[in-house]
């Protein structure tokens, strides 16, 4: 069984956010971590390795320094790492990103693709389902548990007020919630392996069945009109009234804001 986990190196949002002049993120200027939902997806794959001997490949798209996140994954137990990096792929929205990753995946063997539900930088949750569409395979998003049964996966799919137990035939794509599991730590042996592991690096030419018009900033249907730091909210009104006036004041505000 072959599992490919798509992981993303994301800025550690605690460190503040920087922009390029064109409004896209200046990823080079920020501290990075492995996206938490992706890490849960990786852990799920590593458990399939422990249990069934699955081969786990991690795939990422990013700047050359995104290689670090692949090595971290290998140190946790992944077998191989593939980095897709190319100048022409930069500035991609979720459409162009999912086209890129699908182009890479067409050159890989997989029974199961796992992505995180969403990344903490973009918070879109779109790339996983979009990859599945480009590859014409089933998707199960928001997985809170995962097991294998023959040639199928059985997944608990979380919703707001319920979950569905779903069965999909492989090959398929699952998006993982951070609560799927508690990711393991890197091991000393794993770190040793990771240091000498060879990372496969692919560029534009290594993507299969993708047109240039679907890649990078130019291939992105969505464009940024404006981006800015959020303005911190200052103090609002403060009143000192007797209790019944206080109540009327609060109820009035809730009505004004259409809360009630």
């Amino acid at each position: 069984m072959k599992v490919v986990v798509c992981i993303k190196q994301v800025p550690d949002t605690k460190g503040g956010v920087k922009f390029n002049p064109d409004g896209t993120l200046d990823r080079a200027a920020m501290m990075t971590i492995m996206n938490p939902d992706d890490k849960a997806g990786l852990e799920a794959a590593l458990r399939l390795k422990d249990q069934y001997g699955a081969e786990v490949t991690v795939l990422t798209m990013g700047l050359p320094k995104a290689e670090d996140v692949l090595r971290e994954a290998i140190a946790m137990g992944a077998d191989k790492g593939v980095l897709v990096t190319d100048r022409v792929l930069g500035g991609a929205d979720t459409w162009a990103t999912s086209q890129t990753l699908a182009g890479a995946l067409r050159n890989m063997d997989y029974d199961l693709i796992i992505t995180g539900r969403q990344a903490i930088d973009g918070d879109t949750a779109q790339v996983g389902p979009q990859i599945s569409e480009h590859l014409n395979i089933p998707v199960i998003s928001y997985a809170q548990s995962l097991k294998i049964e023959g040639d199928s996966v059985i997944v608990e799919r979380q919703y707001d007020d319920r979950y569905h137990v779903l069965k999909a035939k492989m090959p398929c794509l699952i998006t993982a919630l951070a609560e799927l599991n508690e990711p393991r730590y890197m091991t000393p042996g794993g770190i040793f392996d990771a240091c000498k592991a060879e990372i496969t690096v692919w560029g534009r030419a290594d993507l299969k069945d993708v047109e240039d018009s679907n890649l990078g900033l130019k291939g992105s249907p969505t464009q940024i009109a404006k981006a800015s730091d959020k303005v911190r909210k200052g103090a609002g009104e403060k009143v000192t009234l007797d209790p019944s006036e206080s109540v009327d004041y609060i109820v009035g505000k809730l009505k004004e804001k259409h809360v009630i």
Binding site: T124, V139, D161, K167, A225, D229, G236, K238, V247, I250
Partner: protein, 350 residues
């Protein structure tokens, strides 16, 4: 793609168990604003099994037209048949804008549909308006008018971005629930219904539902709550939290608390808001008897509306509160609960 062919604002009218979700009415409300700005109409797309009877509700909240896609394959939400339904509607009717709720369903459905149609999708929008792109004229670049400008937070709310989709149609967005206003309901309005069934033939992309497990009440995560009634040390005792539970119940909210309350053993850790607890962003956050240490503020200052009640007028919580009330919570909270109960009883009758 001839962009001129695409007309009208369409919204996905999400229903679960044949009960329309509030987000559908909110999208119709926002859709009406956008349609007014464009001189066009709002169409709700209702997808499910035996859902036709629900169409009038959508009209009562302002939908000019309702497209009903009704098929037994659509009984419970599954990505593939629902994506097929929406993609087929888009191909046939060519809307210029298509809005979907940023719910656990919409955030799976939206991306699958946008990828099938080849258009852009902006996630989890909190503001939508019609305007120019680029916002200001840029030499050598065509400025397009009547574009959907979609604004959304990113980086855990640290930044705000406004996105456009100038060259593809429909312009698609998922919209955060609880942010847009629904219009006032007009009882008795009948829907202008058009039925459409593109045909549903199960293939390898149809997943099988083995079981539907509904959550037991009381396990709601405070991070998902739309309204939080949060108490601090100023509550005085664990018994006094009953006041907050009553207030939360009336508003359909949840109770949360500050670290001091957890440290005192009054409430469990999973209700704690703040740097060492959970980061919450409800529509309304009541901070009651909470002084507002910086660690607490870090966990809640992104809330849309913050209402603070505290007897200490110099409490730092008032620095972030939209509406601060200096006074005795023991007198104000129970009276507030009663007043809201009366008010809400009035609205539900009207």
């Amino acid at each position: 793609m001839n962009l001129e062919e695409y007309k009208g604002v369409y919204v996905f009218a999400q229903q679960v168990d044949n009960c329309i979700n509030n987000i559908a009415f909110e999208l119709i409300g926002k859709g009406k604003d956008l349609a007014d700005a464009l001189g066009t109409e709002v169409t709700a797309v209702l997808v499910g099994s035996s859902v036709k009877d629900l169409a009038d509700q959508l009209a009562e909240y302002g939908a000019d037209k309702v497209i009903v896609v009704d098929d037994p394959q659509l009984k419970d939400y599954r990505t593939e048949p629902y994506a097929h339904a929406l993609a087929s509607v888009i191909r046939k009717y060519k809307p210029e804008i298509f809005l979907v709720g940023a719910t656990a369903i919409g955030r799976d459905l939206g991306p699958r549909v946008s990828a099938r149609i080849h258009t852009g999708l902006t996630a989890d929008c909190t503001q939508l308006e019609i305007g120019d792109f680029p916002l200001a004229p840029v030499p050598g670049k065509e400025q397009k008018h009547n574009q959907l400008l979609m604004t959304r937070p990113a980086f855990g709310g640290n930044t705000i971005a406004t996105i456009a989709c100038p060259d593809f149609r429909p312009q698609m967005a998922t919209v955060r629930p609880g942010v847009m206003q629904k219009r006032e309901r007009k009882p008795g309005v009948k829907a202008n219904v058009e039925e459409f069934n593109p045909g549903f033939t199960p293939d390898h992309k149809y997943v099988e539902i083995l079981e539907v497990v509904k959550a037991v009440a009381n396990t709601v995560d405070i991070m998902d709550a739309k309204i939080l009634v949060s108490g601090g040390r100023g509550m005085g005792s664990p018994e006094n939290f009953k006041m907050l539970e009553d207030l939360a119940e009336v508003l359909g909210g949840q109770v949360s608390c500050s670290r001091a309350v957890v440290d005192a053993g009054w409430k469990p850790k999973d209700l704690q808001v703040g740097q060492t607890g959970k980061t919450v962003r409800p529509n309304v956050y009541f901070a009651i008897g909470i002084s507002g240490a910086i660690q607490h503020l870090a966990g809640m200052e992104e809330s849309d509306i913050i209402i603070a009640i505290n007897k200490d007028e110099s409490a730092p919580i008032f620095d972030v509160a939209d509406y601060g009330v200096v006074g005795d919570l023991n007198k104000i909270v129970p009276a507030l609960t009663e007043k809201l109960r009366t008010e809400l009883a009035k609205t539900s009758q009207g």
